[in-house]
């Protein structure tokens, strides 16, 4: 048995782990759940020697152990498959399985690798997973799901007693997930203790015997999966109780008046698995769901940032295949990404230059936004959005987060869009700025814009949206409207079991 006792880890001002106790028992699959930033990754990294905890101990069979590197952890039988499939792409399957622990000849022969032994060991590890594969193939030529299994085979090649899988299903499709799970069940039968980190509710109930939930670096609870209702699990994850009376999700699909944007059956491998969405002019529709449920992915697909594999998108009643953000912009779509720093601001440019970039992109480089036009536009937007900046020529990096966000919103408003796609527009900005952004969204909606609003704060969705589409495991599973749009009902819909008929 592997156990964490009172683990604590601090990164600067952030307490990533706070007195976490966790037991990983042999012959059991433990589902580790938690929202973004709950501390799952930190916990895993402590257990695998990539981080050293500031306080607390890790015990193997009751004896405290010290892990300085992934090697130490492996030596003690703790194997990890990390979230991004970390294999060496241009090395063969056999090599990847044995890398770092190759069988060697003695020093007289230069300590050379016994390649035949390497292949035999790789074959043995793969056979344990029921996988027949040419071990001489290069890993980069294999599909992701197979690479995932190869990574597990690598983890098993040592005498692993504990197997930790960090979000192993995030890039797999349905069949591949089932295949992985049957492998895990087989290993559980062999007596391995297995930890699966995931944020897919259906999947955790499909595989886990016990579920542990982290929130804000603390262990909020651990319980047998069979005795933990979904609603309670979700409540533990988001830190709020669900009022039982409100636990009813209406799912009648009444078509709204003339949709400005309408999507049917959006699918994208590893991201979306059937999302329907309509939003009319003058309407704000919220997207609710847990982390990884497909909220951001839906917006990115609508905006053409990630191509869809299947599905139809209609803008103002006409079908379009949106293949690029440029195409989306020409159709009057605007997308505010959740990654303000990475996808949004141009930090060293002025507020004014940041404001005009989208408009300039829409016009193309031949029709320059003139100096006078830019100045007038900037002044108008700064005033109407109440952006607090010393002047329009101040570098945007000097503004507060809330004001940067307003600039980004204003940037899109300059292009005169018909549909606004907002991904977590209030994340990381102060309360006053939040209220401003929400008020702004309301006024834009009243002016006739169609708004799709993604937020993990359910109150915000309830306040800003007349209708909410609930996503679970990358599908749209329910729609709430009118009085049903309240946080408890949204949570109930997020937690509902798939058999409950909540699917559209």
């Amino acid at each position: 048995m592997l156990a964490a006792r009172g683990l604590r880890k601090r990164f600067g001002p952030v307490l990533a782990l706070d007195s976490v106790d966790l037991e990983i028992r042999p012959g059991e699959v433990l589902g580790l759940m938690g929202e973004n930033g709950a501390g799952k990754s930190t916990l895993i990294k402590c257990l695998t020697g990539l981080h050293r905890p500031d306080a607390g101990t890790i015990e193997r069979d009751g004896r405290p152990i010290t892990l300085r590197s992934p090697r130490d952890a492996e030596a003690l039988g703790v194997s990890t498959v990390h979230q991004e499939v970390h294999l060496i792409p241009h090395a063969t399957v056999a090599e990847n399985i044995c890398l770092g622990r190759e069988p060697r000849r003695n020093w007289l022969l230069g300590g050379s690798i016994r390649w035949r032994r390497v292949r035999e060991r790789a074959n043995a590890a793969l056979a344990r997973l029921g996988l027949a594969l040419d071990v001489r193939r290069e890993v980069s030529t294999l599909p992701l799901a197979i690479r995932q299994l190869v990574a597990i085979a690598r983890a098993l090649d040592i005498e692993a007693r504990t197997l930790i899988l960090d979000e192993p299903t995030s890039s797999l499709d349905r069949d591949e997930v089932e295949r992985l799970f049957s492998t895990l069940r087989r290993l559980r039968g062999e007596g391995l203790g297995i930890v699966v980190v995931t944020h897919f509710l259906d999947q955790v109930y499909a595989i886990a015997d016990r579920i542990a939930v982290l929130r804000d670096g603390r262990l909020v609870g651990a319980a047998l999966a069979a005795s933990l209702p979904r609603a309670e699990l979700v409540a533990m994850m988001v830190g709020r109780a669900i009022a039982p009376a409100a636990a009813r999700a209406s799912s009648e699909a009444e078509r709204p008046r003339a949709a400005a944007l309408s999507a049917r059956g959006l699918r994208r491998r590893g991201a979306l698995d059937g999302v329907d969405l309509d939003v009319a002019a003058g309407e704000a529709v919220g997207l609710a769901g847990l982390l990884g449920s497909g909220r951001s992915e839906t917006l990115r697909a609508l905006f053409g940032a990630d191509p869809i594999d299947e599905g139809a998108i209609e803008v103002s009643g006409r079908r379009h295949s949106i293949r690029s953000p440029g195409a989306a912009m020409r159709l009057g779509l605007a997308f505010l990404s959740e990654d303000r720093r990475g996808d949004g601001i141009l930090p060293s440019l002025s507020v004014r230059d940041n404001l005009i970039t989208a408009l300039q992109a829409q016009r193309g480089i031949l029709r320059r936004v003139g100096r006078r036009e830019a100045a007038a536009l900037a002044d108008r937007l700064i005033a109407s959005l109440r952006i607090k900046a010393p002047s329009a020529s101040t570098p945007i990096a000097r503004l507060s987060g809330g004001n940067q966000q307003k600039v980004l919103l204003a940037r899109w408003l300059a292009t005169d869009p018909r549909v606004l796609l907002l991904d977590e527009p209030t994340r990381g900005i102060d309360i006053g700025a939040k209220a401003d952004v929400l008020a702004l969204v309301a006024s834009l909606r009243e002016k006739g814009l169609a708004v799709v609003f993604v937020s993990s704060e359910l109150e915000e969705l309830a306040a800003a949206c007349g209708r909410v589409v609930v996503l679970r495991d990358r599908r749209s599973v329910a729609q709430l409207r009118g009085a049903d749009v309240d946080p408890s009902a949204m949570l109930a819909a997020v937690a509902a079991a798939p058999e409950g008929g909540a699917r559209d």
């Binding site: 590197s69 294999l87 890398l99």
Partner: protein, 328 residues
């Protein structure tokens, strides 16, 4: 054996080599002769040794710009120790090799320890080593010690009895050959060699898989430093002099040979066999241009430039094909 997409660049390079040699043999009399091949090997032995070092570094995802400068530094150190200090050439060579390895080790430790780009650190190393070479010997100094002139350059040769065209293989070529064989063994057959590939292929992955990334990186630069010094020694035997201005920009010739040999500049893919072919192609182009007689030797560079472009473009195309195969 099944042909893998990553082996294609190597195959293409081999075809280019054979075709170029055949073309030369058809066009010029006496081209396909033992003497021509021997000269090709003798004239490029030092480049070959340096290119092996560059192969290690490039496979690991790095770059070493200090090669030529370290070669020149090694040369003048040997010359100064032998001719001014009265040190036996054998000992002088050993000292020079140790200095080269230490220099590379230091560069590797700085790159890894301070997480600095290899380009910058080895650029600084290039200036440093070149400057030190001039500090030791402001001008070229011939080495007249009999151990170098006679023992190493005349006695330590291997006779090849090929009937009428029998010839001798000088020590410099033997050193080059041994370097290639040892490097092939280390890269292909030892865990250390596989780690060099792994960190060049996916550094983050190698870290998470628990490989000793820091030690491997530092060792790679130490190897490059050592092989630069060894290339410098080969150059000294070839020229019988230590010259602080020697081998300017040779690191770029070495990198060119590595790239022509099918090794990806971003690391993780390639082989020392490819590098050997790359060096031979490089030398062959020079030989052909010499035979042509009317062309200036700068034409070598023009052809090499064109070849690198063609190879890099072809590699990118092959990568795309490979990725499509993976997705299918």
């Amino acid at each position: 054996m099944k042909l893998r997409p990553r082996d294609l660049p190597l195959l293409v390079a081999a075809i280019v080599l054979v075709t170029a040699f055949a073309a030369g043999a058809l066009r010029y009399d006496h081209f396909a002769s033992v003497a021509v091949v021997r000269n090709l090997l003798v004239d490029n032995a030092f480049l070959g040794v340096a290119a092996v070092g560059a192969t290690f570094v490039i496979l690991s995802g790095g770059i070493d710009l200090s090669v030529g400068a370290v070669m020149a530094f090694t040369g003048v150190v040997v010359a100064a120790l032998v001719e001014r200090g009265g040190v036996h050439p054998g000992i002088a060579i050993a000292i020079a090799l140790a200095l080269g390895a230490a220099f590379g080790l230091l560069q590797g430790a700085i790159i890894r320890g301070f997480a600095l780009p290899a380009f910058l650190v080895t650029l600084a190393g290039m200036f440093l080593a070149r400057g030190m070479a001039f500090a030791v010997e402001p001008q070229s100094r011939p080495i007249r010690h009999p151990f170098v002139a006679t023992t190493l350059n005349e006695s330590a040769t291997i006779a090849l009895p090929l009937g009428e065209t029998s010839t001798t293989i000088p020590l410099t070529v033997s050193i080059g050959a041994v370097t290639f064989v040892v490097a092939w063994f280390v890269l292909r057959q030892t865990p250390f060699g596989r780690r060099v590939y792994a960190i060049g292929d996916d550094l983050q992955g190698a870290t998470v898989l628990g490989l000793p990334v820091a030690a491997t990186t530092i060792a790679v630069y130490a190897i490059s430093g050592f092989l630069s010094a060894l290339a410098g020694v080969v150059f000294v035997l070839y020229q019988q002099a230590g010259d602080p201005t020697a081998c300017k920009g040779l690191e770029l010739d070495a990198i060119a040979a590595v790239v022509i040999g099918g090794t990806l500049l971003r690391g993780g893919v390639g082989s020392v066999v490819g590098t050997l072919i790359g060096v031979l192609i490089y030398g062959l182009i020079q030989t052909i241009i010499t035979f042509e007689g009317t062309l200036s030797s700068w034409w070598t560079r023009i052809v090499v430039g064109a070849l690198i472009l063609a190879f890099v473009a072809a590699q990118r195309g092959l990568e795309r094909v490979g990725r499509r195969l993976a997705d299918a």
